[in-house]
Structures are given as C-alpha cells and as structure tokens.
C-alpha cells in the first residue's frame, strides 16, 4: 500500500486517489450508552499489525472500502466494498 491500494471495483490504484478515514468500527446503537460511544468515537486499538480501516476511492468509483492492512509492513491482505462488509457481519 502506501503507494497502491487495490479497489475491488477498479483494481490497483495510486494512494492519492483515496481518502482514508481510519478504523472500520461498528457504529453503536443510539442507546448503547456513553461508554460505548466514547469508545467508538475516541478510543482506538491502534495495533501494530493487521487492521481493518475505511478507505474511500474518492477520485475513482467513490465507494467506501474496508481495507485489511498491516500497519507494520503496509501489506494489504484484503479490500472489500464497505456496503457488503458492515462490521457486524464480519468475523
């Protein structure tokens, strides 16, 4: 990565076509409570290793993707359309 991101719809593209948002987290239910929301909005696992994050193919197909990427090696293991991969359906 860092240089190229594979988009499931467009293929391998330069990083500059994308916008990265950060951790692909499940949005809590509206009544999940302050602690759960605090966790969602502010706290991050920030692991050294595999990480699921949201990338937007802003200058391409404009789809949001969930990209599984290693934060130590920058290797991308997988990249899926976010609509097909909402966090609750992910293992």
């Amino acid at each position: 990565m860092a240089s190229l991101v594979s988009c499931p719809h467009c293929g391998s593209r330069p990083k500059e076509e994308f916008t990265v948002k950060g951790a692909a987290l499940k949005r809590p239910a509206p009544d999940a409570g302050q602690e759960r929301w605090m966790d969602y909005v502010y706290l991050r696992d920030n692991p050294r290793g595999a990480y699921d994050e949201y990338w937007h193919h802003t200058s391409g197909c404009r789809r949001w993707l969930v990209v599984t990427r290693d934060t130590a090696t920058h290797e991308i293991a997988a990249s899926r359309d976010a609509a097909l991969d909402v966090p609750e359906t992910r293992a």
């Binding site: 951790a23 920030n46 130590a72």
Partner: protein
Amino acid sequence: MRYSALSVFLNGLRGNKGWGPAWRSPQPKPHYDVVIVGGGGHGLATAYYLAKEFGITNVAVVEKGYIGSGNVGRNTTIIRSNYLLQGNNPFYELSMKLWEGLEQDFNFNAMVSQRGVVNLYHSDAQRDAYTRRGNAMRLHGVDADLLDREQISAMLPFLDFDNARFPIQGGLMQKRGGTVRHDAVAWGYARGADMRGVDIIQDCEVTGIRRENGVVTGVETTKGFIGCGKLALAAAGNSSRVAEMAGMKLPLESHVLQAFVSEGLKPFIDCVVTFGAGHFYCSQSDKGGLVFGGDIDGYNSYAQRGNLATVEHVAEAGKAMIPGLSRVRVLRSWGGIMDMSMDGSPIIDRTHIDNLYLNSGWCYGGFKATPASGFCFAHLIARNTPQETATAFRLDRFARGFMLDEKGQGAQPNLH
C-alpha cells in the same frame, strides 16, 4: 567533564584522548523510584527534570533502541509557541522559555537558534485566523507580529509573489521561534540526567507491565524485570502498544510523518517559513541543508517510512512557494511515527491504574514541546498534581467534552 571552550582547547592539545562517555551504560538495578519507558526527547527530559527540579534521582530511562532513535531524531527541528487555545498556549510558551535557557542549563550546545517562524497567509480568511491566533499569543505575552506582503518580501525575496496560484498576502511571525539541533537535545538531556544519577538503559525493550493488586510494580524487559515505584510512559508513536500492556486503550492512532533534507546550500533561507496554501514548512540547517516537511501520510503506520505521493505533494508545495528550489535536489526522506490524538493535543496525566503515568498524544508537534513536556511530566510524577500549564491535558477530556482542538477537525487523528 564540563564542556567549555577551554575544555575543547585543552583536549584538542592532548589529541582528544581525555573525553569520557557522555553518559554511562549501566545494567539495570532491580528497583527504581521511577522508571520511564522511552529514551526519546520527552522521556530523557522527564528524567532530567525529575532529578534536577524535583530531587528524584533514583530513576531509570529504558529505551528499546538507542536514545533519541524516535521522533526527537527525525523531525524538522522547529520550535515555536504560536498556539491558539488557552489550554495549549501557556504550556508551549513554558517550553519556549525553557528552550531559551536550555543549553546553559544542561551544558550542551543544542544550537537553539531563534531565527523566527513565519506562517504565510494567502487570503483574508487566513489573515483573520492568524489575527485571532496572534492576539491569543499576545494575550499570554508571547511575541507575535502580523506582517504584510512588503515586509515578507523584504525578508524572503525568493518566495513566489508574482506567478502564484495562491498569492502571498502576508504572514504571522514569531521572532522567538526557530530551530534546534534535534539529536543534541536528546544527548544533552541524557548527559544532564546521567550526571545527576539517572540510569539510561539502551537496547532494553519493555515486554510487559507487572501489576500487583491492581497497582503497577514494575516492567518486564529484555534485560529482565525492573521494579519501580512509579511507571511513566513516554513512548510517543508506540504509546498504544505500551499502554495495551496495562490493558489500556488510548485515544490515539500512530501515523507516519515524513521529513526531508536537501543537499547542502549556501545560506538561503534564514527563518522558518511555512506555506499557507499547501502543507510545506522549511528551514535551513547550519550545515546548509534545507530541512522541510509537510502533511502526514494519512494512514495508521508503525513503519518508519512514507510514500512517494506525499513526497511529491510536499515538493509541489515547496516549489510553488519558492520557485528557485526547482533545481535543488532532495537528499533524503525519513519517517517518524506520530502519536496522533483525537483532538490534536497532548495527554499528560495519571491513569486509572495507580502508579501509572502517561505522556503521549504529541501528534506531529512533539519536538518543540520537549522541555515543557519533560518538566510538566516530572512535576506530575513528583507531586501527583498537574503542572499549572498542563492542566488541560487530561485523559478524561474526551469523555467529558473538553477537547483541545486547535484545528477544529474533531475525532479524526489524521486530520490534525
């Protein structure tokens, strides 16, 4: 041995055989009053001030690599205190005041050079934002001057005033801002702390945090267990990983920021200058290289390397600002891992775990904060209350809604 012109002269006559090590390389003792995780600028400064200001000398700094191997040795060396918010401004000004007396204080020439920092503005809106900022600085007695185009042109005649996409209208100047020889900061603090009894233990990676009855009692390391009264984390980009050993999740992401140096040039740019129409900031080192940087790469990373797109982005802004850079060559790029916080401001606080103290969230402004960060962290560790300029840097500010968001970007670290 105290460093001075005389000692340099006398040692020179004797073939420089008389110089001893700048700091010892001790084996860790079984127990210290305070163990500091992270031998970077902030960790070493904390140890120095603990010893010097608070009389706590039974201190170890444990560092997984060599001292200064993190961000203190891989930044663009800029110091400034041009902050906006009340929670930040006095702290950074404290840091500036400490920089101003630092070298005499720790007897090491870190080349603190108050060459001035100019932030260019290109629109009325930017001018207004700098007016607000400059006034906030002045309210706290920090020097700030709003310069117009002619004043900028007299200072920096090689900027693009004529052919620019976003013409320069003026700039906000902090004359007391400038640069410091970054590695020397780590070395100076290390030497100063070592002289006061602090053990600096390099090549010693923390692998676990030991707790008994919920209270931190020491750290497991690659050199064995080291017990401590208080444990202070100053691990910058690795803060989340160290905190995880204590079961804590932090409001941080680790991001890579690249910095660059050009080939050596004869004196060209005297002050630090930042572009307002793109992310680019630049100064010239005493050796002649232009030291410059831009935006973070944007994605979480623990790899100390960046991508080419960001390099190009930075270069484009550089040439847009200074057309004469076109045939200057960029020599080297490197990357540091930034502990980007959720509001762009740091955290210096106790934690919910007894005896565990946290210093993190410096984003990409940690270098200039080094002295105050060390001072305030030492204060917190020694006195258990925040130093008065660091009262806003609390860990619970996110839950309570007291964010310190200079840029107003919200809870997305890569936007700060």
